[in-house]
Each structure stands twice: as structure tokens, then as C-alpha cells.
Subunit: 355 residues, 2 copies
């Protein structure tokens, strides 16, 4: 669906993904998520005050959304999605109707709670204006300068305190957050090792993102042995994106006063909690005086300008590289979400909706 | 064995507990620990420089010693005990021979690494002189003014930061550390709830140690329901002495930015780690931005004088009460250690060796 002629239209058709059945286990399928077409009125009278009609251009595909498909409240990031309602995502879009004098048609906005849809009506307080003339490609607003970059920065620069020379381990190291966490830790002078899901990605994060070394966890039958090999001096900082068995293995290799910065636990998203495998060696926390700190980047938004300034500087100086996996068309959302759980992507997964 | 005549003796018989077989699971028995009698020379020439011969008066019986009987290095507090060697404990003793001019016969000392024995030869750098004329009963040097009180103070006053009015949960609440952690949290104006292993102890910690409420975990078939009942507003601070299933239950009830201060995990001491039940809901750490901080009081010894001053003040003002369970004779050590795992004690378990 193009945007030509939207200015004159009284309504627009919009495809959106909605939840048809809870997905308790495994990778979600078309049994759980379906696409439907709704009609959104563009008549100015029908739009509430301080609301915008936004045509989405880019949709961010995020692993944590998997946790919202179960219908179960279990330590989730956000409440579960409701049956028959559109699921939501972070998007970059273009304003096509405005009932807020601070926004005009054509403005490019970042939208934290958009439906996974081609168009949406959104309260203006939930969006933030972007500057498309800043020289930054739009996809970067969903990656290096967006939430993945921000989450990596909050973990490494705010919540954590990796010292120069310390041994840093990053799981899901080729993922949207991992590539930035690794690069930021390198900028702090750390020795950085990553784990990822394919040999190709191992090669890539060493060559393009400066990791000192990396391993393919799918090939390591014994994670304990792998960590012994890559961390002969133990782990000082673990930036955790996966949880589960990798966290358990790490706990056997942490040094005294280690920091475990928990950004996410992708291995834990596909099951309700009572069905998950537990971590059996938390006793290490005591003897080794470990700090485990979970964090949500949303709690640090007061630092977003500091982050933007620092990250922008690194990008201009060529010290931070990005990678996006771009899918095309709203129809691809289900395939994209599934792809996050099959080790098949590098960097940020984004859907280009309306080129 | 009395101390009469030691001054003239050339040697002294000393009974000591030593490890005869590793205890991988369950409560240790006489299959694993046995008593033997050795002879210690009291001849001055035979004592190394800067060493003391100490007659133990009080022996501290501590749960963490259980972890040292397995022969396995697995996130332990201290390395495993060796077969055929005496096991060690914290003691209070009297110097009966000195090869260090800073110590004289009759001095009362605190000994962090004594064998579990009637007498020992110890490097003077491993002991600390006590003042038996301070008005503090000797057992308190192993409880309120000793490591249990110090561990509670480090957790509540140094590592943690419980705010007035916050909801604090303490497990093993009638244990050596728990009774002080609860009292210190009350002094900070918190609402304090404890879990313990008998109805009698529930009553006692409410009546003698100021807990706002308490429950008997042996009677609660559903820990989740119990925590819902006692923490309708969620848990802000968890002082963890037990780990395992209680920690898992707590993670479903913590509030945003909760602190979990991990002093010990007594439920995890009886098995090697691969045989333990895991904690399945660590994902709560992320969404609720929880901090889990393990600590060992030994890392905070630079604060011991601050602690002593503060605790002494509280004791004099009647704001902190103590409770000791005194056993008699070195022969009772095995029974005492076992008792720590059967919910049968209140407060600090101590053996009086040489009255």
C-alpha cells in the first residue's frame, strides 16, 4: 500500500496483525497470529484531539513480543496481548493527519506503541519526532540510535561498570542489542567474547564488530568446556540476552564480584515459566558475591539525550557499525518474529512497510 | 577435658572432628565425620613463631560448613574439606601457649579458622583478641557481635537499602542471621515478615524479635499463596538465607526495583549443584529490574568497627535481642550440624567445649 493520494482520502485500508489464540509453547504460527484489514477514517472530525494518524514505514521486530502471546502474566516485560486485538510494536512512521499543533503532515515519528499495522491512530504523547535530515538512515532509529543501541548503552555504560582489561561475555552477540553491547565494551578497553548461533555469525562479529573472539553455541555440546576455553581467567562481566542454560554455565565461570547485566532472556520466552528448565547453581552468587542486575531501558529515558549524543559521536567517528536485516511488507511479520528464535538473523530485524 | 594444669603439661590430648568420606547428599552422618584424639605438644620449642596454642571454649556451628563436605568445587564459600583432615569452624578460645609477644596466656581470642577440636595451634594473624570484661557474654561474640550479626548488618545496612515502610521478607527468620536481619530491618522502619520451620518459632520471632508477622513454611503447601497473603503489596527487599524454591516463589512476588540480598542458600547445601532443583522464573529479574546481590561478610571487614559500635549501642539500648542454642562437649558437633537442616533451632547454635 503506497501513500499517494492519502491527502485526499476520507479513509484508508490498513492491514494489521492480531492475536487469534494464545501461544503457550514454541514458535508462534498462523494458528496464533492472523492478518486482517480494517478501515481507518481520515476525516479530521473523526480523529480525537492530540492524536495523529500515522502511516508506518518501518516496524521493529523484537523477541520480547513473544512473551506477550501466552495470555499469562509471568514476569513479563509488558502485559499479555489480548485475544482479537492487534499486537503492538515499535515503529517509525509518517504523520498523515494531525490533531496536534506540534505535528504536521509529513513529520517522521518514532512510535513506541503502534499496532503492527500499516496505519494507526495514536495519541501524540506516545510518539517522538525524528529528524530525517540528520544524515542518519531511518533504520538506525530502530537500531544503533534506537532501543537496541540504548539498551546496550544502558547495560554497559550505566548499569554495569566494566573496567579496562576485564573479561566480558555477551550472549546473542550478533543480535540487535549484542552487536552494540560488544562494540561499547570494546570501546571501554575490555576483552570481549560473544556467543552466537552460526559459524557465519561468529566470523561476522569478529570481523565487523570487533569481538576478540566468539563461538557458535549450537556446536558446543558442553557450554562449560567452551567457557573454560574462552575464559581461562574467568568472566568479570556477563551481558545476558539469553538466560537459561547459558546463564547457568556462566555462573560456574564468574569471578569474584562479577556483574551479570540482564538485558533479556530470549531462551525463556517460548514457554510459560513452570515449564522452563531452572538454573541450579545460583549458590555461586553468594560465594562469588555476584551482582545480577535486570534492567529495562525504558527506566533510563532521562539519559536518552546523553546516549544519543555519545552514540552519534561514535557513529560519525566510525567506531560503531550497524547491521539490519530488512524484510518487506507487513505480511512478513510472523515469519520475522519466528526468525528471531532460529538463530538466522544478524543485527536488527526490521520490516519495511511503505517504502 | 578441663584446663587445670595445662600450664605445666608438655602435651595435651585434643579431640577433633575429621572427614572420613564425602557426603554428596542429605544430612551428614558418622559415615562422613568421625572424632579422633590427637596429642598436641605444649613444649615452647615445638610451637612455630607467631603461633598460639588455643584451648577452644565455644565452637560456632554454621550451615555453610555442609557445603564443604562434598569434595566438589561448586560455587562454594570455601574450598572443600580434605579427607582425613580436621574440619574447621569459627571459635572463641583461650590462649594457653604463645609464641607472639602480642598475646599472652589467658587471652581470649576469636579464631576464624580453628579445627573443630578442643585445642589447636594457630597462626596469630588468624585470631583477634576479645575483651571478656566488656560486659558482653562470650556467646554473643559468635552471634550478635560476631559473624551472624555482622552478616545481617552488612546485608541490611551496607549492601541493601531498605526504605522506611518498605515490605521486607526474611527467610530462615529464626536462624542465627535471620533474627538480627529482622531486628535491623525493623529499626529502619520497615514492615518485616519472616518464614521459619515451626509454629513455635513463628510465635517466638513475633514475640521476641519484633517481626510484624511470620509463617511456617513447612505448613504452607503453596508458597505462592502464602506470599500473596503476607505481601498483598509485593516484596521490596528479600533477605535470602535459603535459596531454591523459596527464592523462586519470591521472584513471582517482587516489586519493581526489588532488592534480593543473598546471604546464604541453606536449601542448596545438601546436594551437588547438578542434582539441585533449578529456579525457573529468573525472567522476573528483567521485567521487574531486580537486583540480586550475593555477599560474604568477610569482604566488609573494614566496616567491622562501625558495626561493633552500632550493634553494641543497640544491645545496650535493648533494641537488639539474642538467642543461643548451646550444646555441650565436642562430641555433639555432628548432631549440631545435622540440627541446622531440620528446622529445630532458634538463633545461633554453639558448642560449649571447655566450660
Amino acid at each position: 500500500m503506497g501513500d499517494v493520494g492519502n491527502e485526499e482520502k476520507a479513509a484508508v485500508d490498513s492491514k494489521e496483525w492480531y492475536l487469534t489464540a494464545h501461544a503457550l509453547e514454541g514458535v508462534p504460527t498462523s494458528d496464533h497470529l492472523k492478518l486482517r484489514t480494517i478501515s481507518l477514517s481520515l476525516a479530521v472530525d473523526s480523529i480525537p484531539d492530540r492524536h495523529l494518524v500515522v502511516q508506518n514505514l518501518l516496524i521493529s521486530v523484537d523477541p520480547y513480543n513473544r512473551t506477550r502471546l501466552t495470555g499469562v502474566e509471568d514476569g513479563l516485560y509488558f502485559p499479555p496481548f489480548k485475544l482479537n486485538e492487534a499486537i503492538t510494536a515499535i515503529t517509525v512512521g509518517r504523520v498523515i493527519r494531525s490533531k496536534d499543533s506540534n505535528y504536521k503532515e509529513g513529520d517522521i515519528v518514532f512510535n513506541f506503541f503502534s499496532p503492527v499495522a500499516e496505519h494507526c491512530v495514536v495519541p501524540s504523547e506516545l510518539v517522538r519526532k525524528l529528524d530525517p535530515t540528520s544524515g542518519v538512515p531511518l533504520p538506525d532509529f530502530l537500531s544503533s540510535l534506537g532501543l537496541p543501541g540504548f539498551a546496550a548503552w544502558v547495560g554497559i555504560d550505566v548499569v554495569g561498570d566494566p573496567k579496562p582489561g576485564s573479561n566480558v561475555f555477551i550472549s546473542a552477540a550478533a543480535g540487535a542489542v549484542g552487536i552494540y553491547a560488544g562494540q561499547l565494551a570494546k570501546l571501554k578497553g575490555c576483552r570481549v567474547i560473544g556467543s552466537t548461533g552460526s559459524d557465519e555469525k561468529v566470523k561476522l562479529i569478529k570481523e565487523e564488530f570487533g569481538y576478540d573472539d566468539a563461538f557458535n553455541y549450537n556446536k558446543e555440546t558442553d557450554l562449560d568446556a567452551a567457557l573454560s576455553k574462552y575464559f581461562p581467567d574467568g568472566i568479570d562481566v556477563y551481558f545476558d540476552n539469553v538466560g537459561g542454560k547459558m546463564l547457568e554455565a556462566v555462573l560456574n565461570h564468574v569471578n569474584r564480584h562479577a556483574q551479570i547485566l540482564v538485558c533479556g532472556m530470549i531462551s525463556q520466552y517460548k514457554k510459560i515459566w513452570t515449564e522452563r528448565e531452572g538454573v541450579r547453581n545460583l549458590l555461586n552468587i553468594v560465594g562469588k558475591e555476584v551482582r545480577i542486575q535486570g534492567f529495562m531501558s525504558g527506566s533510563y529515558f532521562d539519559r536518552f539525550e546523553d546516549f544519543t549524543k555519545e552514540m552519534h559521536g561514535y557513529i560519525k567517528e566510525g567506531k560503531i557499525s550497524s547491521k539490519h536485516k530488512i524484510y518487506h511488507g507487513i505480511e512478513s511479520y510472523l515469519e520475522c518474529l519466528s526468525s528471531l528464535f532460529t538463530s538466522s538473523n544478524v543485527g536488527k530485524v526490521i520490516i519495511e512497510v511503505n517504502p
